[in-house]
Amino acid sequence: MSHNPESTLKWYIAVFLFLMVMTGLTVAVAKVDLGAMNDVVMLVIAVAKALAVILIFMHVKDSTRVTALTVVGGFVWLGILIFFTLNDYLSRGDLLLNVPGK
C-alpha cells in the first residue's frame, strides 16, 4: 500500500468517508433511546473509527511487527487499567453508597 501512491490515496479517502459516515451515525443513534445499548453502540462505533485511523492513517497496517506489537501492548495495558480498577470499584457496593454527594 505505502509503495503505491494511487492505492494510498483511495485508502485515505475511503477512511475519511468512513469516519464521516460513522460520526453521523453515532449522532443519529444517540438520539434514539436504546437503553443501556446506547453506550455500547457509541463505543463500538468509536472503536471502529479508532481502528481505521490506527491501521490506515497511522500506517500500522504496513508497519513492522515490533511496532504493531507495541501498539497492541499499549491498548492491552489500558484495558488492564480500566478492567481492574472497575473490578475493585464495582465490587465494593457499600463503599459506593458513601461517596460524597451520592
Partner: protein, 234 residues
Amino acid sequence: MASTAFDTHLAAPHGEHHHPSLQHQFDSLEQQKESSTLGMWMFLVTEIMFFGALFTAYVIYRNLFHGVFATASHHLDVTMGAINTAVLIGSSLTMALSIRAAQLNRRKAIVLFLLLTIALGGTFLVIKGFEYAHKFRDHLVPGPHFAPEDPAIQAVADKAQVFFSLYFIMTGIHALHMIIGIGLLLWLAIAAWRGKFDSTYYTPLECTGLYWHFVDIVWIFLFPLLYLIGAHAR
C-alpha cells in the same frame, strides 16, 4: 595497528556519499525510519496511559453518577461537537496527504497540506473556545461560581460538577495537545518549504502525523462520552 583499523572503519562511511539526513548510528534510511516510528509509538503508549487515567476516572464516575452525567451532558452543544469531530477528521486526512505528497516528491503539496492541517486544527480550537465561553457564561465551570440556571443540574450540583470537571480537564488537555501539534506542524511546514523532505526522507512528518492522528483518536472517544450520553433523553 588496531587503532588504524578502527580509524579506517570509521572513515569508510564518511568517505562515501550518503544522505544528509541519515544519522551515523543507522545503517540505512529505512532502519532509521523504523526506529523513529517505534520510538514515537513508545511515546504514544505513554500518552495512551496518560489519557487512559482520565478515561478510567470518567468510567468510574459515569457508573456512580449514571443519570447525572446524562443530564449534565445536555449542556454540551452536540452540533458544535459534531462539527469539531468532522474538522479533526478532515485534518487527519490532510496530514496523511502531506506525507503522501512527500512520498511523491511534491514539495509545495507537502506545505499546502500541512497549512490545511494547521488551519483545520485552528478551526477546532476556535470552536472549542466558543464552547468554553458559553460554559463560563452559563456558570457551568466547576468551583465557587458553579451556578447553573437549570434546576435539573442545581438539584445534583455536586455530582454535576464532577462531570464538568472531567469535561474541562479532558477537553483542555486535548486542546493543549492540539496547540503543541500546531506548533510542530508550523515547524514542519517551514522545513518542508526549505526542501528538507522528499521520498527518501520524511521521518519528522511521519512521527508528527502519528501524534496528530493520536490526538484525533482521543477526540473520537471524547465526543460520544461527553456530548452524546444524554442525547436521547433531551
